[in-house]
């Protein structure tokens, strides 16, 4: 009996070593080539002795002009290279908003309010309960104060005060952490998809902190949950154009005006999942920041599937039969998300994957195209390219789907699942809560690569790749400081309510 599993074990171990050997060979191919050549050259030099080397040198007959021209040429080429290299964009620090305990929403309170408000629609209440049971949210997520009232009071004033509360608290914290003075902010980007008052939220920030009059401010609205990475992309482009500058990005979603007050089931879903949150991020292209910056931006890839009708209509804001405005989520959301991810991976793969994976992918592609179309496509192992993954905590289904598609382990998606549990779906800021989780667990080391993936209405899939610039000590304050020791928690498939 014990004989039977042994061969399998030894064969799988053998396979693992073969794989490792192959990866080392391909990824360090150049070194494998260069080292023998350098060794041979060194042996030759040693063999020749100093006099022979001098003879060879004299026989080359350099004169002054040649030497000068060569050196100027070399200097010219290197200057052109350094000038045309894109500036390194640093993420100096970021701060996530932690809501007060009075905004907490336990399951029982949510369901009780739902029953009291939707008195005559027990089916809708049942639906909300089923969603909440399977949502992966915990008992400590937060909704803004206006939603705690029976019935909710989503006035414009309440929406503005939620915006002021979350944005100003996050920014105060960021200023304190980084020591930045408000008058030194060069670029300000605020993204909030569903609340766009006049004057804009970016104007509100400028007014509160008395920012400079020549600030480059942008307010992005309507771009969904992936707007956070769109803002980072915009900041990167602006920082390429403006030397020696910094940029503040504020990512948030204001829940108050968008709490769906009707009873159409597909539109009640966001009520169960979306929660209060915000993040403020400081980015810079200053060389002086390279010592204190936490991350360097390596790549940012944006994929838009809006050209396809199904993708365009899958997250659609509309009025229901009674005139209440809400967001309709279609049933093929997961399939569309999978396709958008595939498109994004196809672009980002060649940029980040090690040569070994790219070669395998190329071989499998050739195999499928030329020899046998039925061959299973080779899914590159992204775990070789990244140490940490931050998947937008859009919902349990999104995280499950991506875990399956990218073949990630439980620990890789832990940050996303735990953020969904503790903070709910905070839309564009959820990626930053997840990054903060990884830092709070003390897992972020210098040189680690992080992949942030965000999905948004449209349908968009955006990803950003960051490289950790310095080993990050567990932060003493931050959204996870009082509860990180309780995590990770086991989240059951269905929570009995």
């Amino acid at each position: 009996m014990p004989q039977a599993p042994m061969p399998e074990l030894t064969s799988s171990v053998k396979l693992k070593y073969v794989k490792l050997g192959y990866q080392y060979l391909v990824n360090h191919f150049l070194s494998f080539l260069l080292i023998p050549i350098m060794a041979i050259g060194a042996v030759e030099l040693l063999r020749m002795g100093p006099e022979e080397i001098l003879n060879v040198w004299n026989s080359l007959e350099f004169d002054l002009v040649q030497v000068l021209c060569t050196s100027f040429f070399v200097i010219f080429i290197s200057t052109v290279y350094f000038m045309s290299k894109p500036r390194t964009i640093y993420l100096v620090d970021y701060s996530c908003y932690k809501p007060p305990v009075t905004c907490r929403v336990p399951f029982a309170t949510f369901m009780e309010h739902s029953r009291l408000i939707l008195k005559d629609k027990p089916k809708s209440v049942e639906f909300q309960m089923r969603i909440l049971e399977r949502s992966g949210l915990g008992e400590e997520t937060s909704l803004p104060p206006a939603i705690h009232y029976i019935p909710p009071t989503p006035t414009m004033d309440a929406a503005r005060s939620e915006a002021q509360l979350v944005i100003f608290t996050a920014m105060d914290d960021l200023f304190k952490k980084t020591g930045l003075k408000p008058k030194d902010v060069d670029i300000l980007i605020v993204n909030c998809s569903l609340f766009s008052p006049t004057p804009s939220l970016s104007a509100m920030v400028i007014n509160k902190y008395k920012l400079r009059s020549n600030i480059k401010s942008v307010n992005l609205s309507g771009m969904g949950c992936s707007a956070g990475l769109i803002s980072v992309d915009l900041a990167r482009d602006l920082l390429q154009v403006h030397p020696n500058s910094n940029a503040i990005i504020v990512s948030t979603e204001i829940i108050t005006p968008n709490y769906y007050q009707g009873n159409e089931r597909a539109m009640l879903l966001p009520n169960c999942l979306f929660r209060m949150g915000a993040a403020a991020i400081l980015m810079s292209n200053r060389r002086s920041d390279r010592w204190r910056a936490k991350y360097k931006l390596s790549h940012l890839v944006r994929t838009h599937r809006g050209a396809d009708d199904k993708s365009f209509y899958c997250v659609y804001e509309q009025e229901d039969k009674e005139g209440h405005v809400g967001i309709n989520l279609s049933k093929d959301l997961m399939a569309i998300a999978g396709e958008a991810l595939k498109a994004n991976i196809t672009t980002i793969g060649p940029l980040v994957l090690p040569a070994s994976e790219q070669l395998l992918f190329l071989l499998s592609l050739i195999g499928r195209k030329i020899f046998n179309p039925k061959l299973k496509p080779y899914i590159p192992d992204f775990k070789l390219a990244f140490e940490h993954f931050c998947i937008h905590a859009g919902g349990r289904a999104v995280i499950d789907e991506l875990q399956k598609n990218l073949q990630l382990s439980g620990e890789h998606v832990e940050a996303s699942r735990m953020t969904l549990h503790r903070f709910g779906n905070t839309s564009s800021s959820s990626l930053w809560y997840e990054l903060s989780y990884i830092e709070s667990k003390g897992r972020m080391r210098r040189g680690d690569r992080v992949w942030q993936i965000a999905f948004g209405s449209g349908f968009k899939c955006n990803s950003a790749v960051w490289k950790c610039n310095r080993t990050i000590k567990t932060p003493k304050d931050g959204p996870w400081s009082d509860c990180i020791d309780r995590y990770p928690v086991f989240i059951p498939e269905v929570v009995k309510l």
Binding site: P100, V101, T102, R104, V105, P106, F107, A108, T109, E112, H113, R115, L116, G138, E139, E140, P145, A146, H148, Y149, I150, T153, S161, L165
Partner: protein, 431 residues
């Protein structure tokens, strides 16, 4: 008092205040036999402050300290549920404390002068328990802001779930949490000690409410007696040295009410808190009911001198042993009126701890002490209730709140024996 007044309290909004930390899942708080015996009554505490600690309300620090405090009181934010055997208990599911905000169109002084018992009930929020109590909040808080400053904080609950001491300690702990002090009386959720419950039968399933509505219209008035009034009486009448202010004031009101009722009303029910009377005293933070109801009789009490009656009351209270408490506990049934079946005298002397009245130490901001604290009991029986409460000024003064049928109350308000003590009469509805 027969004068129809328009409602001066307007409820503006309602929300649910939650605890700051999730409680242990599946936790359940059962009711004792004594708890179930109190099920016909409701309890309301109203604390009046001259200056409100609330500001914008949504972002106040007072809200945050309330949430932190509620984490220590899971039964307060839980919901009542019926077990498969038909027994009621509290499921500690963190659903929350229903909180209402209201505005009163008069100033606090005007209110204390001219409001009556029915007006005061507008300062608290109450709804009877429905058939399905899963979305019914048993504990309700109402914050009433007066014109020109001042606030009345009204906390209501079914008497089944808490007694007056429990609610007082809860409110006081809220103020302590707000001022970042340690709680003097942290909550304790242990059951009644076995010395009291040995003989009692297992808790029977709760029968459906067959409460007959109380038909008599009652009126309430509050009499504030100063320390000097007590001293004056002691000097004039020569009371025995061990007489406490409770003995004197209870005796005074018993005799005068008996006179007004024109019966030789010889039986009263004494309601005493037994937390500190047990050989192993229960802490003040004991959550639930710890009240002893015992009968006291005297023939022709209306003609007796106050000295005699006071001595009887004193003997009765001093001789409350644990055996007596246990036997009284065994006799309680359900769906009985505990308050008001006979004239009930409620003793609150235990709330004076080392000379300080507990409820008047519930201070949110330094120097802003409550100006008055009212306790109201709902569904009181027709014979009435006399509550002898501590006075805001420390010492021998007392505040006596009387609930009687309307005609008897109007006679009591002009009783010369009582007026001899020069009480300040508030919350009687008389203009």
């Amino acid at each position: 008092m027969g004068i129809v007044q328009e409602n001066r309290v307007e409820v503006k909004s309602m929300l649910t205040a939650v605890s700051s930390k999730p409680s242990r899942s599946g936790r359940v708080h059962p009711f004792t036999t004594l708890d179930n015996a109190m099920s016909r009554h409701t309890l309301h505490v109203i604390v009046y402050y001259p200056r409100s600690p609330f500001g914008s309300f949504d972002l106040d620090s007072v809200r945050i300290s309330l949430s932190e405090l509620l984490s220590m009181y899971p039964p307060v934010v839980g919901r009542v549920a019926k077990t498969p055997d038909g027994i009621l208990e509290v499921k500690c599911n963190d659903a929350g404390l229903r909180t209402l905000k209201a505005k009163v169109c008069v100033g606090i002084d005007e209110w204390l002068r001219s409001a009556d018992g029915h007006d005061e009930s507008d300062l608290t929020a109450w709804e009877d328990m429905p058939e399905d109590p899963s979305t019914w909040a048993p504990f309700r808080l109402q914050i009433n802001e007066f014109e020109g400053g001042g606030v009345a904080i009204g906390l209501s609950c079914p008497h089944r779930q808490a007694d007056a001491t429990t609610l007082t300690v809860l409110l006081k702990s809220w103020t302590e949490a707000q001022r970042r002090r340690c709680l003097v009386h942290p909550p304790s959720f242990s059951p009644l000690p076995s010395i009291l419950t040995d003989d009692t039968d297992a808790v029977k399933p709760n029968s459906a409410s067959i409460s007959e509505p109380i038909s008599t219209k009652t009126a309430t008035a509050t009499f504030r007696f100063s320390s000097s009034a007590f001293k004056k009486y002691v000097e004039e009448e020569g009371i025995f040295p061990k007489a406490s202010p409770l003995d004197v004031f209870a005796a005074l009101f018993w005799t005068r009410v008996a006179l007004v009722k024109r019966k030789s009303h010889d039986r009263v029910c004494m309601c005493v808190d037994f937390r500190r009377l047990l050989p192993n005293p229960l802490p003040y933070g004991f959550f639930g009911n710890a009240l002893n109801f015992s009968s006291l009789e005297m023939t022709n009490v209306a003609d007796q001198g106050i000295v005699h009656v006071a001595r009887l009351i004193n003997d009765h209270v001093t001789n409350l042993t644990v055996e007596k408490i246990r036997s009284d506990l065994n006799r309680v049934g359900e769906q009985e009126l505990m308050y008001g079946r006979d004239l009930t005298i409620v003793n609150m002397e235990h709330m004076i701890v080392e000379g300080d009245p507990m409820m008047y130490d519930a201070v949110f901001e330094d120097g802003v002490r409550p100006v008055h604290v009212s306790y109201r009991i709902g569904n009181v029986g027709g014979e009435g209730v006399i509550m002898v409460m501590p006075s805001p000024e420390k010492g021998f003064g007392r505040v006596v709140s009387v609930t009687l049928p309307e005609e008897e109350m109007s006679k009591l308000l002009v009783d010369q024996e009582i007026l001899r003590f020069e009480p300040k009469i508030i919350l009687s509805g008389v203009k």
